[in-house]
């Protein structure tokens, strides 16, 4: 018996690689998750959008490497005196598209005013988008699933309290709440100017998590309420399986579909929300962010369209690809939604 075998047994982990006999012949079932992923692999839209997301993710992941490669930097103006690139605060036409030619020194030109490199800003902006979206998704999923499981399985008073809290949060106007709350959290953590960047990051993530965990919690609660009536839960209880094990080993694997679907649809929502909140005035100022760039660039759209279009197109592409991928994931996990 190999370790892998035991994992299959112990963890009930549907995705663990099945053992292969010495003869190479294996008798293995396909888990429902595996079936869904197989279905996803045959979906052209899913493959294309996954590729786009993957490429953008690579750009974000290797942002420091790539910008090094091009010799462009996000945190300092070009090595030559900045004035050389600027004309009345605008980049000289010859130093950037669309009015100047393409120079490999600065493929997307320079930002007006600061003369920072736009390409580096874009790369790091993508990196920020992914970081925020991934972290927020991870947190909301963990919180939403845990609270949903608790509410659904506990029933009684605890369920009532949790459901009420969910209702309160759902009725709270998200944008105004977020805007009122964000500066408070920022101030709480920004004990000195150096920590401002970090504080803004924490406050952005907390605001996003605080106002979005309820959706998944409610969904999971509903699923648990219906699943716990199924006999396999009673079967586990008769055996004497501890409640925590019932929750995480018996119930949770059955919630894979709604959780995966929620994750894949909340990623684009968080990318969009990060940029949207930046547009409304909360967000990250120290780190490059696509939303911030859009805010700065909307004043220059006539003279310097590329400055605006680069982040707009990138966000559109990223959100669209993530959304289409999420949609395909939903179809794959719940074929009944496709007609």
């Amino acid at each position: 018996m190999t370790v892998a075998d035991l994992e299959v047994l112990g963890a009930g982990d549907a995705e663990t690689a099945p053992p292969v006999d010495a003869s190479g012949k294996k008798i293995t079932g396909r888990s429902p998750t595996r079936i869904a992923f197989d279905r996803l692999r045959r979906d052209k839209v899913a493959v294309v959008s996954a590729t786009i997301v993957f490429v953008l993710a690579l750009l974000g992941l290797f942002a420091p490497l790539i910008s090094d490669l091009f010799g462009v930097y996000v945190d300092k103006p070009p090595s030559r005196p900045a004035t050389q690139y600027l004309l009345y605060g605008y980049p000289r036409p010859e130093y950037g598209p669309p009015f100047g030619g393409l120079t490999w020194d600065h493929p997307l030109g320079l930002s007006p005013g600061t003369a920072y490199d736009n390409f580096a800003g874009l790369l790091y902006g993508i990196r920020t988008s992914f970081t925020v979206a991934l972290l927020t998704t991870l947190l909301t999923t963990t919180i939403g699933v845990t609270i949903g499981l608790m509410a659904g399985f506990a029933r009684g008073a605890l369920d009532k309290v949790i459901s009420f809290v969910i209702d309160v949060f759902l009725s709270f106007p998200f944008l105004l709440g977020a805007l009122a709350l964000a500066p408070i959290i920022t101030n709480r953590f920004a004990t000195d100017a150096a920590k401002l960047e970090k504080a803004q990051f924490i406050s952005l993530i907390s605001v996003l998590v605080l106002f979005t965990w309820m959706g998944l919690a409610r969904l999971i609660r509903g699923q648990v309420l219906s699943l716990r009536e199924r006999e396999f839960i009673q079967a586990a209880q008769v055996i004497g399986v501890p409640t925590s094990r019932i929750l995480f080993k018996e119930l949770l694997p059955n919630l894979v579909a709604p959780i995966v679907v929620t994750i894949s649809l909340s990623m684009p929502a968080f990318v969009a929300a990060e940029a949207g909140l930046a547009y409304l005035g909360i967000g990250l100022t120290g780190i490059p962010s696509l939303g911030q760039t859009i805010v700065r660039a909307q004043g220059y759209y006539e003279q310097y369209g590329l400055y605006l279009w680069a982040p707009v197109v990138t966000i559109m592409l990223l959100v669209m690809a993530l959304n289409l991928l999420g949609d395909s994931v939903r179809d794959a996990f719940d074929p009944s939604t496709r007609r």
């Binding site: 018996m1 075998d5 035991l6 299959v8 047994l9 112990g10 009930g12 549907a14 099945p18 053992p19 294996k26 008798i27 293995t28 079932g29 396909r30 888990s31 429902p32 998750t33 199924r230 006999e231 396999f232 009673q234 079967a235 586990a236 209880q237 008769v238 055996i239 004497g240 399986v241 501890p242 094990r245 018996e250 694997p253 059955n254 894979v256």
Partner: protein, 373 residues
């Protein structure tokens, strides 16, 4: 096969109760289970009790079977759930192997969880669709640590073989099996801890008729092989008769008649038992073109929230008198059975047909096999 079965049993810590042939394995006394009914008003107060089980007493001997029959809603499933402590009993005692298990905390209950297992009616919802067969059958052993972790898979394969499945299939998912095969997986899970008592809640009623016989015969083989006692809950009279030497008939949360299989089937004394038996189709009679007299009960089963006074069957009983409304009949000892009726007597009308019911299933008491035509 059976050798390793014994080894496994040796590694487990037995509950302290001494083995004694005189004491029944399970003795249930005056078991009551009520479910509260909430009002729909502003303040949801309890306005009534569903008296699902209301004072039921029976015993199950070691290695033997008790059949619990009745219409749906009569409380037989609830009884099974209370015995396995899925539901907390409202009142009454349940002695298992000499220990009262009705009030044990979930921690104290753990050793007994190993001894009492449940087989479910629905083979589709009783197996976790996200677990492999290996996990499903292996979980009891993992939780109770009865088998070393690296021995679980061989033991699962052994169990699969015992219930007639391909042991190589332990890595498959329930969705890849048919209903009958799934029920076998459920049986393998129940066997995993070498229980002394299995509560089988309508174990075959969700299966095709052709599969039912196979599963019933499997259960019978296992019972003999491992000396397991069964509390067999079913509404199919032929199957209960085939499987259980002792039978209890339930109506609206109470046992109305209880006794040996032949006593109950040949000379039912309680009007409800008589009606129930007359409603079962009679193949023999149909074959020779005859018709058995059927007792048609009038009206619906009364609500268990507000059951009739006195005898609960009186509202549908053709023998009902004033006494039935005023005085609840205790279980009388009549002709080798217990029967809760003031007017218990054999039914005269269908006396001629009784023999035929008896011949409906195999008569060989030593090794009965259910024949399916």
């Amino acid at each position: 096969m059976s050798a390793s079965h014994e080894t496994v049993a040796d590694t487990t810590a037995e509950p302290a109760a001494p083995e004694s042939s005189g004491i029944p394995l399970l003795e249930v006394k005056d078991l009551v289970k009520h479910f509260p009914v909430k009002s729909s008003g502003v303040i949801r107060r309890t306005i009534g009790q569903v008296q699902a089980v209301d004072g039921v007493s029976f015993t199950v001997d070691e290695g033997s079977s008790l059949g619990l029959v009745g219409e749906s809603g009569c409380g037989k499933t609830t009884t099974g759930r209370v015995v396995t402590r899925l539901y907390e009993p409202t009142a009454g005692t349940m002695m298992f192997d000499g220990t009262e298990i009705g009030q044990l905390s979930s921690k104290q209950m753990m050793p007994y969880r190993r001894e009492i297992q449940l087989i479910f009616q629905d083979p589709y919802s009783s197996l976790n669709p996200r677990h492999t067969v290996g996990t499903i059958v292996g979980t009891p052993m993992l939780v109770h640590k009865t088998v070393a972790k690296n021995k679980i898979i061989p033991r699962v394969q052994e169990l699969l073989e015992t219930v007639g499945l391909n042991p190589e299939h332990y890595n498959r998912y329930p969705s890849e099996f048919s209903g009958g095969q799934r029920q076998r997986i459920g049986i393998a899970r129940a066997l995993a801890l070498n229980p002394k008592l299995i509560v089988a809640d309508e174990p075959v009623s969700a299966l095709d008729v052709s599969i039912q016989a196979q599963v019933i015969n499997l259960l019978q083989d296992l019972q003999r092989q491992f000396n397991i006692a069964f509390l067999f809950i079913a509404h199919d009279l032929a199957i209960v008769r085939h499987f259980c030497p002792r039978i209890a008939v339930m109506y609206l949360g109470k046992i109305v008649e209880m006794g040996d299989r032949d006593t109950i089937y040949n000379t039912p004394h309680h009007p409800y038992t008589q009606a129930l038996l007359s409603s079962a189709p009679d193949v023999k009679q149909a074959a020779i073109g005859g018709r058995r007299e059927r007792i048609r009960l009038v009206g619906d089963v009364p609500s268990p929230v507000n059951p009739p006074s006195g005898c609960r069957f009186r509202t549908r009983c053709w023998k009902a008198q004033d006494i039935c409304a005023n005085e609840e009949p205790p279980l009388y000892q009549v002709g080798g059975r217990e029967v809760a009726c003031h007017f218990a007597e054999p039914l005269q009308v269908i006396a001629a047909g009784e023999g035929d019911i008896a011949t409906q299933v195999g008569q060989d008491d030593q090794s009965p096999t259910l024949e399916v035509s």
